[in-house]
Symmetry: C2
Subunit: 255 residues, 2 copies
């Protein structure tokens, strides 16, 4: 490419099995999703780009459709770009779609909502083929109480009590988020906690899921959940569900 | 247990994700399915047993319902045995069922038939969550020709040309096997090769699947397949499909 080739903004949609990765974000010496994507693009295009995601996912968390974007002067057609990246990526990361978008598109700041799904497997025996993608919890849970508590998350709340402890002490830290949907659905042996929101704090979905499990066990009640949502100062939900059960399902943008 | 406790013969049904294991058979210094089962039983019962399977599966091959058996004097109820073993096994191996059977039951010699399934994924993009459990082959294949060739395997044949090369030179080696069912079925983006037989030689199903793929590519025709089945002496099918796509689905016994 000549240095004067026009810049293009590329948006990619990515699925990944997070099991073997140290999360989304590039970290020196560790294998990450963002790192693998940037490595594949460098191998393909011989120029380094920074690939910005809609947000980070933790180590072990999966994605059905993460969204990311980068700027390049490489004129490669989007379908060829997708195929070439998939040849260079490990099979656990797939570029599902690539498209050219407006130069100002930002995968994180332009995101309107995100949908996460937390999967709990309830039967005694979990298939080896499904086990990496669920939290296997075959013990008694009051699922009706959990479903009721899940509804309490809907609305605008200070979710500080549900954030990772290392995220709580910034100077202009704002823990207010809007939750549009929060529901618990049983399908066969699987219990799905689905939550759509304007954005999520670090560990927030896993802490919401962990809290629902505490409700299901009878260790917390609806009043405790309300207290965590209304008086978060210093309090913490205290229970983080395992990463293996969490999927980033969808990121939506203004069309 | 007192040494005079009565002996019991226990039959177990096991599912496993073979990805991380060096096959079924115990091998020094390597992690195998049989080795993990025997290790778990030893930890549970404090006595070593040899757990005999219906047959070996290769490194990387999966099982939905492998069958194995062992003899013990431990009086533990079968349901407790299943639960205890599952607590001690890695999540990639699950004991689905345990039952007491006649003392003469032999998982290998008493097997009447085995059903294997070979999974080929045909679309360009294979989900990261399915990829460990298929052979991803998105290139052109004449699937009608493959289905026709699959039918040729049915019957009694000398399958010597479809055995692993290191298995071919025993003194009383017999490569005759009976195939009851051999079919190719397309379901959405998945192509299933299902084969039920009296027994299978080492690598045989992967060699049958590899041969069908060669037929699909146009490198072999029906006449070549017939020749391999009728004049196996010295000839070899030459194409072994990857282990990741292979599942042992079922082992049947006289009831």
């Amino acid at each position: 490419m000549s240095p004067s080739a026009p810049e293009r903004r590329i948006r990619i949609t990515i699925a990944y099995d997070g099991t073997a990765f140290h999360g989304w974000q590039v970290q020196p010496g560790l294998t990450t999703i963002q790192g693998e994507l940037e490595r594949a693009y460098l191998a393909l295009s011989k120029t380094a780009v920074k690939i910005q995601g809609s947000g980070r996912t933790d180590a072990g968390v999966h994605a059905l459709a993460q969204v990311a974007a980068f700027t390049t002067t490489n004129p490669i057609p989007c379908d060829n770009l997708r195929r070439a990246m998939n040849r260079l990526l490990p099979p656990a990361i797939r570029v599902l779609h690539a498209q050219e978008v407006a130069s100002k598109f930002h995968a994180r700041f332009d995101a309107v909502s995100k949908l996460y799904e937390y999967r709990i497997f309830r039967d005694e025996i979990c298939s080896p083929f499904e086990r990496p993608y669920v939290h296997h919890f075959p013990y008694p849970l009051d699922e009706a109480k959990m479903a009721e508590a899940a509804g309490l998350f809907v609305g605008v709340h200070d979710f500080g009590a549900f954030a990772a402890s290392d995220e709580k002490y910034g100077s202009n830290y704002c823990a207010s988020r809007t939750i549009y949907l929060s529901e618990l659905v049983r399908e066969g042996p699987r219990l799905f906690f689905r939550v759509r929101g304007s954005g999520f704090l670090k560990h927030m979905v896993r802490n919401l899921a962990g809290t629902l499990i505490e409700v299901g066990k009878g260790n917390l009640g609806g009043a405790d959940v309300r207290r965590l949502l209304t008086a978060p100062g210093g309090s913490t939900s205290g229970s983080t569900a395992p990463a293996s059960g969490l999927f980033l399902v969808e990121v939506t943008y203004k069309s």
